[in-house]
């Protein structure tokens, strides 16, 4: 074959891969940009508009009427356009005489207001408000104007999430759920997978079929029966039905079918001669498992660990059902939801919350990723 024909597929592969990566990254990027934007702007415009200078229309108040000066028989208020939070507007494009038409007059010119007052706003944001009679009112007059707003980013959303103080505790709670709920199924599944692949016992195939069948049971259907079981047992033996052990068991149960299936397929693909000769040399099943199978199955173990870890970390439903919502039990996902407020008014915290909750899964993924692909195709191709 010539080199040309192998270049084309490679080129297409490359392009397709790049396109997919971009497709996947754009939403994440958008979420990230959103998370560092001001919440009111977030509600008003899309994240892709945030890199350019944008025209904003708003109003600011003059100084209080009591600071007016009398010059040549006229009453004058002058100063600098400033927002309530102290931001100074220095790039005024146009202003108007009423809220209806905030871009009526270009900056630097003078407009006559409805009440006869003369208003001048310069592009640097300085203004003069001149009137024949005394300026009255308890608040500053509103000046409506348009200005160019440079791109502005803030860490406020992150502050809001972290500031509430409960995130740290929720982070620990999630760890307390996730680590045992990952370790326990991995342990059990490794034993089970070995038994299914290399031990002879009656009904092995049937039992394995049942495990595979369990893969398709939606976990939602088993929530209530399981919780009832816990609650009955709890009443019998006097423990609280909602708690960490319960949620560990639940995650273990929900994770096991896939774990056993994945690992059994991987272990089955290991060379049988190796195990047989070890058996002939007098190794017990346990020795074969710990000395030979376990070290060889590391990729499968690691890939399932990642799967299970991510699934439990991101889980909301199981934790909501099997754990209380108190401060010592609430998990990260539930806590982020709680930050939304009773009627969901603080939805902008989700943008930064997503990135805070993603930190640990990212670390885990990068730490174990070299096993990931190997484990993912585990058992799918017989080598």
């Amino acid at each position: 074959m010539s080199t040309q024909s192998s270049f084309l597929p490679r080129f297409f592969n490359g392009t397709a891969l790049t396109a997919l990566v971009i497709l996947w990254l754009v939403p994440t990027l958008g979420l990230f940009v959103s998370s560092i934007r001001d919440k009111d702007q977030l509600a008003a415009s899309g994240w892709w508009t945030s890199f350019n200078e944008s025209k904003q229309v708003t109003f600011a108040r003059t100084d209080l009427p009591e600071t007016q000066q009398q010059i040549d028989g006229q009453f004058v208020l002058s100063g600098q356009l400033t927002a309530d939070d102290g931001t100074v507007f220095t790039n005024v494009l146009a202003f108007g005489s009423s809220s209806r038409d905030p871009e009526e007059v270009p900056a630097g010119e003078t407009a006559t207001l409805k009440n006869g007052a003369q208003l001048t706003v310069n592009s640097d944001g300085s203004y003069t408000y001149v009137q024949d009679k005394e300026i009255t009112g308890s608040r500053g007059k509103r000046i409506f104007f348009a200005y160019g707003q440079p791109p502005r980013f803030t860490l406020e959303n992150y502050d809001n999430v972290l500031d509430k103080g409960k995130i740290g505790q929720a982070f620990l709670n999630t760890l307390a759920v996730t680590i045992p709920a990952t370790v326990i199924p991995v342990l059990i599944a490794a034993f089970a997978a070995y038994a299914f692949s290399w031990m002879q016992f009656a009904g092995r195939e049937w039992l394995f079929a049942v495990v595979i069948g369990l893969l398709v049971v939606p976990l939602q259907t088993s929530l209530v029966p399981l919780l009832r079981l816990y609650s009955d047992l709890g009443q019998m033996f006097g423990f609280e039905s909602k708690g960490y052990p319960g949620v560990w068991m639940a995650h273990t149960g929900f994770g096991l079918p896939l774990a056993i299936y994945l690992m059994r397929n991987y272990m089955k693909s290991l060379p049988g001669d190796l195990i047989e000769s070890a058996r002939v040399d007098g190794a017990s099943h346990f020795q074969v498992f710990t000395r030979i199978i376990l070290p060889l199955s590391l990729p499968a173990l690691a890939s399932f660990t990642i799967f299970q870890f991510l699934w439990v970390w991101n889980d909301l439903l199981v934790a909501l059902v099997f754990l209380g919502q108190g401060e010592d039990q609430i998990v990260l996902t539930a806590q982020l939801r709680a930050l939304l407020g009773t009627r969901g008014s603080n939805w902008e915290v989700l943008t930064s919350g997503a990135f805070i909750s993603i930190i640990l899964p990212l670390l885990v993924f990068f730490a174990l990723q070299r096993f990931f692909v190997r484990g993912l195709v585990a058992g799918s191709v017989k080598g």
Binding site: D84, R100, D101, A176, I179, P180, D328, R343
Partner: protein, 452 residues
């Protein structure tokens, strides 16, 4: 090893029992905005070591306020109240209940659910002392008792829900300076309100911001409009018949009310972003149009909680930067000043002596005042001091409650879940997207027939 360390932390956390330490007692007992004497009854009780499980929909800021109410109870009696708040609280409580492990107390925003639970025998009837307290201490007490009274599993009527933390729906929000600028006056009657809307259109503006999107609950904003208009065009008895379906949903009276709502929402000149957009605008974003330059709209009809969705700088300045007026009634119809509200009913799902005491506590003035001093709480409790409200705005709203000639609870919350939290909501979406009132109401009635 770090893993082992984290594990041991995990296990230590797992074995931690009990709840977090009680939040601070925010108010000094010398503060005479509060009726501290109503707390003394509970100080004599000793409930040390007793725990009350309480589930409710309040989270975040609301939860903090509730925890203040709880903290004083815990301090007085020694009991522990384990409050669990969640957005999914309704589902979670039902799951817990089916698993045989319900909380002692639960707060329901929808009386329709309370009625269902009561008839299934899942609720404990409240004590006579609670019923007495509501009947005598709440303004229009009997109507509040009725609100919490449902048929139990034995077919006998009893009070199952204590109304606590109510909100006011019949409010129109506006920006006073925008009104001043254009020379608009606050309308005193529905006729004036419609005239004002027309005037705003004539001046080149848009009178209303309406947004109905709310995830799975999209449409509830429309049902609130309907209910308010129903109370303003029909006597309260018709409203009650409508709620109980004695009067079919597709009765001409209901169709007329829906068409009245149509005068507002289906008029492209009246609503910001045209009527077809109403169903896709998030209800929490729609009031922001009031504060835009130029104003996207001049008025927004929404319940008392809506300032939580205002842009940050306007959240705390109600009364100056924004204000509200009562959604007026028709001058031509002599129906008084009806008030529409919503709120939560606190029910007992698992009886215990300490839960009974806590229910009694919730009827005492102090349990209301402590939350009035926070945010987002109104009460018809006559014994609670108006001074306790944290702002004039809340006080003004509280007074609307105390002075109402007719009070009616949110109809969609009273109807069975399949209607009030289903067909009625989706019907309002259909209506704004062009289906006729006749069709919509007939569809809703069909859905209602199906569950009978």
């Amino acid at each position: 090893m770090t893993l082992r360390k984290t594990l041991s932390v995990a296990i230590a956390l797992a074995t931690l029992s009990g709840t977090a330490a009680a939040e601070g007692l925010k108010f000094d007992k010398a503060d005479n905005r509060f009726s501290w004497d109503s707390l003394s009854k509970f100080e004599k009780m000793d409930l040390n070591g007793k725990t009350i499980r309480f589930d409710g929909p309040w989270i975040d800021g609301d939860e903090a306020n509730l925890r203040t109410v709880i903290a004083y109870f815990e301090e007085a009696t020694g009991a522990t109240v384990e409050y669990n708040g969640s957005n999914d609280f309704e589902q979670l409580v039902l799951v817990d209940m089916k698993a045989g492990n319900p909380p002692n107390l639960a707060a329901w925003p929808q009386p329709g659910t309370v009625s269902e639970l009561a008839s299934q025998g899942n609720l404990v009837a409240l004590s006579d002392s609670v019923e007495q307290a509501v009947a005598t201490n709440y303004a229009a007490g009997q109507s509040w008792v009725d609100l919490g009274t449902y048929k139990g599993a034995d077919g006998k009527e009893a009070m199952f829900g204590l109304p606590y933390n109510v909100n006011l729906k019949s409010l129109v929000w506006y920006v006073p300076e925008n009104f001043e600028e254009m020379g608009y006056e606050i309308p005193q009657s529905m006729e004036e309100l419609i005239a004002l809307s027309d005037q705003i259109v004539k001046d080149g503006g848009t009178p209303w911001c309406i947004g109905m999107e709310s995830g799975g609950a999209t449409g509830w904003v429309g049902t609130d409009w309907m209910e308010d208009l129903m109370l303003r065009t029909q006597p309260p008895s018709v409203y009650d018949q409508w709620v109980s379906n004695e009067m079919p949903f597709n009765d001409p009276k209901v169709i007329e009310v829906m068409n009245t709502f149509g005068q507002f929402v289906l008029n492209d000149d009246y609503v910001d972003g045209s009527s077809s957009a109403v169903a896709s605008i998030f209800f929490g974003d729609s009031p922001k149009g009031l504060f835009d330059t130029p104003p996207k709209c001049y008025m927004h009809r929404q319940a008392s909680f809506i300032p939580a969705f205002f842009p940050d700088q306007y959240k705390e300045t109600i009364g100056t930067d924004s204000d509200f007026f009562y959604f007026p009634s028709y001058e031509s119809k002599d129906l008084g000043n009806p008030v529409l509200g919503g709120g939560t009913l606190i029910t007992m799902m698992k009886d215990s002596p300490e839960s009974q005491v806590f229910m009694d506590y919730l009827t005492s003035p102090i349990a209301h005042e402590l939350w009035m001093a926070g945010q987002g709480f109104l009460t018809p409790h006559k014994g609670a001091k108006l001074e306790a409200y944290s702002s004039d705005t809340l006080r003004k709203q509280g007074e609307i409650f105390l002075n109402a000639t007719t009070f009616r609870f949110d109809a969609s919350d009273l109807m069975p879940g399949a209607i009030g939290a289903g067909a009625f909501w989706t019907g309002m979406v259909d209506f704004t997207s062009g289906k006729s009132a006749e069709e919509v109401t007939t569809d809703i009635q069909k859905a209602w027939d199906a569950i009978k």
